[in-house]
């Protein structure tokens, strides 16, 4: 694809690449096929920076930076895969598994889950931390969708897509710290929401099995984040991508 933007030379783990000036390390890596893990990042939505698994190292700087919010620069030496980064990412994934109730074997998203993929990619085969085993009720009040907070990692993709793309702002995060949770309107059952348009974008972008269609069995839930990316690209750039190409 031709692009008129000026380019800069960067290295990813020692290999030289041409990136576009002004783009983020994440976008460059995606385009160039360099794998950088991510959970909260979704092209087309505003940056959040909460999951922290996309941290990279720049040259010898000991301060790690999120790839999603770091802009490429000429001669930038980006390290995406060092023992330190691997250790940190694995620890973060373990924290996520310990804080919710993620039981892949009974999950609608089993085999199609970004968190599960991340656990595999980071080599996380067991959790060293104490499981918090929170008591959270599944919200199946919506006629079309179901929300299982046990599987929510608070990436806020749903909050952002609902606010920024759909414009409904049904969802938000309430409380704080370890008590933080996703809420519809005033913390009411989703089905009682008067602002939900049933558009299903929140379900489409969910990286885990937290949001799903009603009536799906284990491993049956396929998310479609690319539909939303396509929508955002069409809105902001006037380009309608082939859904198969996106993501």
């Amino acid at each position: 694809m031709r692009d008129a933007r000026p380019s800069v030379t960067v290295t990813f783990d020692g290999e030289e690449y041409d990136a576009f000036a002004g783009e983020s390390v994440m976008d460059a890596a995606r385009r160039l096929g360099v794998p950088i893990p991510s959970l909260c990042y979704l092209e087309g939505l505003s940056l959040y920076g909460g999951c922290r698994v996309c941290v990279v190292q720049i040259a010898e700087d000991h301060r790690l930076r999120p790839a999603c919010a770091t802009t490429v620069a000429q001669d930038m030496e980006i390290k995406t895969d060092t023992p330190l980064l691997r250790a940190h990412r694995k620890a973060i994934i373990e924290m996520l598994f310990a804080e919710g109730n993620h039981v892949c074997a009974v999950c609608v998203s089993n085999g199609k889950c970004e968190l599960q993929d991340m656990a595999v990619a980071t080599g996380m085969d067991h959790v060293r931390f104490d499981y918090q085993a929170p008591q959270r009720e599944v919200d199946a009040s919506h006629p079309k969708y179901v929300f299982d907070p046990n599987r929510c990692i608070l990436c806020t993709r749903c909050v952002r897509v609902c606010d920024e793309i759909e414009g409904a702002h049904v969802w938000d995060v309430a409380f704080r710290g370890a008590d933080a949770e996703l809420v519809a309107e005033l913390g009411k059952p989703w089905g009682e929401s008067t602002s939900c348009t049933w558009c299903g974008k929140c379900v489409a972008v969910c990286p885990t099995g937290a949001m799903a269609y009603q009536g799906k069995a284990v491993g049956e839930m396929q998310h479609h984040a690319n539909v939303v990316i396509r929508l955002a690209t069409a809105r902001t750039k006037g380009q309608w991508l082939d859904p198969e190409e996106v993501g």
Partner: protein
């Protein structure tokens, strides 16, 4: 439009009014002394003066903090053209005695005399707190009589904005909120930034538990803060400023609101300040109980009425801050230094303290010490001098164990480093930070793993929940500390603890998470034995096997 205040005239009138009374009794009416009963003290002083027919001879002036809070309520008796006497623990009865004996009969009330010739007072150098215990915070006249608003007049009538920025830059002033970023550089960034509207924000969200420096400035010398903000706004081209105050400080909010109104009436704020083209509007915004709002991007979110969660930087607030406009956030104490720097010059300021950390620092000194209170010392003073001289050492025959600086973001410094100079860089090298100025001293009865757990619980409760390492990592660290404290931990837990701390420190989104492990890491480093002793022998062996 109202007339501009004539600073000289007000000062002259104030000096004249002052010399009318042979006796002036200054009673500390700051929060700490009020907690100790200063309200009744002031009332008793006033009533006794009237009852003893001394209304023409003595006047009571309620003032801000005099410093030695553990001996409060404090009272200073000043005789015209003469000596000054300080009293401690002045309850109602003592107050009556002071009027009847000291003022009427010139007899010192020996029982409550406080010697001001002790290191607690003589080792201090008061710049920010210069007016503490001197002026009535609610009267602008008192502030003006002590040179108030002279710096603002000088800045906006005699100096170009760039000159003001340069003056602050060459003074070497660094942010007093904890991280120590050079203030002049920040000002220069905002001055250079382009936007329809620039904002200056004073960060008065003092959340470090055990610290009340900023509250004291806001409550006891509100005009100093306002003057500092006005100078900053002039230098950077901002026309709107916010003071973000913790909701836990209602008196500060009240005094600042009143001071802003008075300043506006006197054309020290508002449109065409002092008949120049400089215009500035200042508004107080109140927090609602969230430590993380001390972080600058979280603070901005809170001013905008949103959840106080930090956001990614860059862009830095000086590029895109409040409502997307260039915004500069300075700590309250930082801004309170500004009027004095403009008045006395950058050179004078940088002659105090050390080369890389010039000026003074206000500390809230507390814990296991003889003297507890608010102190202002030149940077570079040793910890030992603060603990032993100013603090008066450890009471009850106990010995010093650790000094905690920087609160939940700081660390515990052991006795072997008591001779360390207190400045940004030295404290950082020891694994602590300067922080906003809480300094808690602990004696040998305190358990360091307990202290670490206390701070971790704080960070866990105050984590905003946005990023995973801080939200979930602090919970896991706390769980481990709990297990260690209960004697249920094994060696592997200690190793996990350190690894977890490293992940939270390296990968968290904002300063709260990045520094949350500091209390654990510093106590592990200096008091590791205490952690090891908590592992039971049996479990140690199991782990070793």
């Amino acid at each position: 439009m109202a007339a501009v205040i004539d600073l000289h005239e007000v000062a002259d009138r104030e000096h004249e009014a002052r010399s009318r009374y042979p006796w002036r009794i200054k009673a500390c009416a700051s929060t700490a002394c009020l907690s100790a009963g200063a309200g009744a003290t002031v009332q008793a002083l006033e009533q006794t003066i009237e009852a003893a027919d001394l209304v023409l001879d003595a006047v009571v002036v309620p003032t801000g903090c005099m410093g030695l809070c553990s001996r409060g309520p404090l009272v200073r008796v000043l005789r015209r053209g003469g000596d000054e006497t300080m009293y401690q623990a002045v309850n109602k009865e003592v107050a009556i005695d002071i009027v009847r004996k000291h003022v009427r009969n010139h007899e010192i009330v020996d029982t409550n005399l406080l010697d001001t010739n002790i290191p607690f007072f003589t080792s201090q150098e008061r710049v920010v707190l210069a007016n503490g215990g001197v002026i009535d915070p609610d009267r602008i006249e008192g502030y003006v009589a002590h040179g108030g608003y002279e710096a603002l007049r000088k800045a906006i009538t005699e100096m170009a904005p760039e000159q003001v920025v340069e003056e602050i830059r060459s003074s070497g002033l660094r942010g007093r909120g904890g991280a120590g970023y050079p203030t002049g550089n920040k000002w220069a960034l905002l001055a250079k930034a382009e936007g329809d509207q620039k904002y200056v924000v004073a960060n008065g969200d003092e959340g470090d538990p055990g610290a009340y420096m900023d509250r004291t400035v806001m409550e006891d010398d509100p005009h100093r803060l306002i003057e500092g903000i006005a100078i900053a706004a002039y230098a950077t081209g901002a026309s709107k400023a916010y003071i973000y105050v913790r909701a836990e400080y209602p008196r500060a909010v009240e005094r600042l609101d009143r001071a802003i109104r008075v300043a506006r009436r006197n054309r020290l704020l508002g449109r065409r300040i002092m008949d120049t083209d400089f215009t500035l509007d200042v508004e107080v915004r109140i927090g609602a109980g969230a430590f993380v709002c001390g972080e600058e991007t979280a603070l901005l979110a809170s001013i905008e009425g949103r959840r106080g969660t930090p956001r990614l930087r860059p862009p830095y607030p000086t590029e895109r801050g409040l409502w997307g406009q260039p915004t500069m956030i300075n700590n309250v104490e930082t801004l309170a230094n500004v009027p004095t720097i403009i008045n006395k010059g950058a050179e004078w300021f940088s002659s105090i303290g050390t080369e890389r950390s010039p000026g003074t620092k206000v500390f809230a000194l507390a814990g296991d010490l003889v003297n507890i209170g608010l102190i202002e010392v030149p940077m570079g003073i040793t910890l030992r001098s603060i603990v032993e001289d100013i603090g008066g050492g450890i009471p009850d025959g106990r010995s010093f164990k650790a000094a905690q600086t920087g609160g939940p973001s700081g660390g515990c410094i052991p006795a072997e480093f008591l001779d360390t100079q207190v400045d940004y860089d030295s404290l950082r090298q020891l694994g602590s930070i300067m922080g906003s100025g809480g300094l808690i001293v602990m004696d040998d009865t305190q358990s360091m793993p307990d202290v670490a757990k206390f701070f971790m619980e704080f960070c866990m409760d105050e984590s905003c929940g946005k990023c995973v390492p801080c939200r979930a990592g602090t919970v896991q660290i706390h769980t481990l500390l709990d297990r260690i404290g209960n004697g249920d931990a094994v060696w592997a837990d200690l190793r996990h603890l350190e690894q977890l701390c490293a992940t939270v420190r390296d990968t968290s989104l904002c300063g709260l998470g990045q520094s949350a492990p500091n209390p654990v890491l510093s106590t592990l480093q200096y008091f590791g034995k205490e952690y090891e002793e908590l592992l039971s022998d049996e479990k140690k062996e199991v782990a070793d096997a």
